[in-house]
């Protein structure tokens, strides 16, 4: 589904990613771990198409097609979703309106009829229940006045609503208390299916206790330094990252 080939990315003239290779198949859950500044978020943003991240060489293929020249919205419509490390506040734009606009853009792209307000509300109520969010959050501006945990729940709500084929979750577990962490993990497990893939970027092993990761990758200085199974995450928890340096 996702194939990253020798990817080099620059941010503000600084080389951040220095040759990433990663292949993700449908049904898989990959965890990418690493210290601050190792390039984890850069990888997520490069996949999502943030234009301040310059791809200097290499390629990103999604379902066999290169996406590096595509706009963020084209990638989203093709089925890629990124949960933001810092979800953006959009003043004055109602959360329901935003979600409905996003879902209908996708449905239109797929040649489906757009949902009207009643149909949308029925759908969104089901999704709200999964992430244990109160309906009042629908009536607020996007992420406006949301706590850190609520913002992350809102990201998962968007993922469940848009049903992407590939979800890149950028530190979705950071800053969550244990209750919020469980809710977010339940949302991810609810989303998981054989035809969908998940890449979760995280500092901590704790969310992986609630998810079954197929692969754990360690990113050091812009490269994948080691790949293993869930036990690699446990090793990192015990030993830190320094044993992998060099």
């Amino acid at each position: 589904m996702l194939e990253i080939k020798d990817l080099h990315v620059k941010v503000k003239d600084k080389d951040i990613l220095k040759g990433i290779n990663l292949t993700v198949h449908p049904g898989e859950l990959h965890a990418i771990m690493g210290r601050n500044g190792s390039g984890k978020s850069t990888l997520a943003n490069a996949i999502a198409g943030q234009d301040s991240y310059e791809i200097t060489s290499g390629d990103i293929l999604f379902n066999g097609t290169s996406i590096v020249a595509e706009s963020p919205e084209e990638r989203a419509l093709a089925g890629i979703f990124m949960s933001f490390q810092y979800p953006v506040i959009i003043p004055g734009v109602n959360n329901t309106y935003f979600l409905k606009a996003a879902l209908n853009a996708k449905r239109k792209h797929q040649g489906k009829t757009e949902l009207d307000a009643v149909e949308f509300l029925k759908l969104i109520r089901e999704k709200l229940a999964v992430v244990e969010m109160d309906e009042k959050y629908l009536h607020r501006a996007v992420n406006d006045g949301f706590s850190g945990g609520e913002k992350k729940q809102n990201e998962i709500l968007q993922m469940l609503t848009l049903e992407p084929a590939l979800a890149i979750l950028d530190e979705t577990d950071s800053g969550l208390d244990i209750d919020a962490l469980k809710i977010v993990a339940a949302g991810i497990n609810n989303y998981r299916r054989d035809d969908r893939a998940i890449v979760i970027i995280t500092h901590y092993q704790r969310i992986l206790k609630y998810l079954e990761a197929d692969y754990v990758h360690v990113l050091i200085n812009g490269k994948i330094a080691k790949t293993g199974g869930e036990n690699l995450a446990e090793q990192l928890e015990d030993k830190g990252y320094s044993w992998l340096d060099n």
């Binding site: 999502a48 979703f81 953006v88 734009v93 996003a102 848009l162």
Partner: protein, 425 residues
């Protein structure tokens, strides 16, 4: 500005039945205007606007000949009692008047109630105001009875259309909200024409004791229009003003707003939304005078500026010595959609009392790139994302319009305006 004097002399000859006192008023006001001329960039409070365009064209006062057939479609706001003025001519037969509201032509008002003029016209430092007094040729006096509760808004539509040569109008609106009355008045300027014109409006609004007045001013003149306005509010004891100023029209717009909180317990909210594109120049100055104790004032103005337009806002809140327990807030927010659009904002506070609560602030920014990316990453295209953000910016001030029909009207204007607007990516 030679043409102005000629127009004044012709007006005095043409309206030879006018009382001597009114003529004297005109002549005195013109004398005051002539002493200073039009504002220039050296004048404090006027430095960002060039009025020389008004001198380059000779405008003549609208005459009875300037009355084209009434257009079949006119701007309409649902559930209002409309007062229609076309090219300066009051269309009484096409107007719906409310019970408990007296509507008079200025001549009639002067004959029956000359003292309401005196409050508005003497010794004004604004030369446009003096020009209006000298040349006032249209407008109405609108008097709401004491205790009257008027359900349907009074919609004054001043429409300019079908011009054959450049004309000017100097309307004067005198509005008195009686004690304990409740009214909504919409003062609406619009036009479609290929010919330049100039509106020089003075509006004086008095809110008597405990009156509640919602005043919506909509300025959507044709881009061939120049719109100059002087809007003064005077609030008596416990009166409550809710004003909203929407402006999207005219190539040159300058409005002076003055709010006098003249007695204790009065409160005013004066908010506004300005939309500018092309080379439009929208300039507003607002002065809030807190003259007595226990008054409150709120201002929230937003400008959305595209293309090479300019938006100017100069706001002053003056709290007089005796005005203890004043609560005054002022916020100005500018959104620049292009690199060439320009905003000048200066919020000012002058406080001469010690027990007051005052705040002011101004921000100027562009569309948040992170918010645009966030929306795009959810499959929303750039243009839609930009428009959502711009509408979101306007929403905070749009929400302060309490009348649903007025809100709907302005919201449609905003939507239409946005459809054609350029945004630098």
């Amino acid at each position: 500005m030679h043409y102005l004097e000629k127009e004044l002399n012709e007006l005095i000859q043409f309206w030879d039945e006018e009382p001597e006192a009114l003529r004297a008023l005109r002549s005195d006001a013109f004398k005051q205007y002539k002493e200073v001329g039009l504002p220039n960039r050296k004048w404090e409070g006027w430095q960002f606007t060039d009025f020389s365009a008004l001198e380059k064209t000779s405008y003549r006062l609208a005459s009875p000949g300037d009355l084209p057939p009434v257009p079949e479609t006119l701007p309409t706001i649902a559930n209002c009692n409309r007062i229609l003025i076309i090219n300066g001519h009051f269309q009484e037969n096409l107007s719906v008047l409310s019970d408990k509201v007296t509507v008079q032509t200025l001549q009639h008002a002067y004959a029956t109630n000359p003292e309401i003029f005196n409050k508005t016209v003497v010794n004004n430092s604004n030369p446009f105001h003096n020009l209006n007094t000298a040349l006032m040729n249209s407008g109405l006096a609108i008097i709401v009875e004491n205790n009257a509760v008027i359900d349907n808004p009074i919609h004054i539509l001043y429409y300019t259309t079908g011009l054959t040569e450049p004309i000017m109008n100097h309307p004067l609106f005198l509005i008195v909200a009686g004690a304990d009355s409740e009214t909504t008045i919409i003062e609406h300027y619009a036009g479609t024409t290929n010919v330049q014109y100039w509106q020089n409006v003075v509006t004086y609004i008095k809110l008597s004791d405990n009156a509640v007045l919602n005043h919506t001013r909509i300025q959507e003149e044709d881009l061939n229009g120049n719109h100059i306005a002087d809007t003064a509010y005077s609030l008596e004891k416990d009166a409550q003003l809710n004003a909203f100023h929407f402006a999207s029209g005219s190539s040159l717009y300058r409005q002076n707003i003055q709010v006098n909180l003249a007695s204790s317990g009065a409160s005013s909210t004066v908010n506004g939304l300005c939309l500018a594109k092309d080379r439009q120049h929208l300039d507003q100055q607002i002065i809030i005078n807190h003259l007595k104790e226990n008054c409150s004032s709120n201002q929230l103005f937003k400008y959305i500026l595209s293309d090479s337009s300019a938006g100017i806002f100069n706001g002053r809140v003056i709290v007089s010595e005796g005005a203890q327990k004043t609560d005054a807030q002022q916020t100005i927010r500018n959104l620049l959609l292009t690199d060439k659009a320009l905003a000048h904002s200066s919020p000012q506070l002058e406080i001469y009392a010690d027990d007051v609560k005052c705040s002011h602030g101004s921000t100027t920014g562009q569309l948040d790139k992170n918010a645009i990316f966030y929306m795009r990453s959810r499959g929303i295209d750039v243009r839609t994302a930009q428009l959502l953000l711009i509408s979101g910016f306007a929403k905070e001030v749009m929400e302060t319009i309490t009348n649903t029909n007025i809100d709907t009207y302005i919201d449609e204007k905003l939507t239409t305006w946005l459809e054609h607007i350029g945004v630098t990516p």
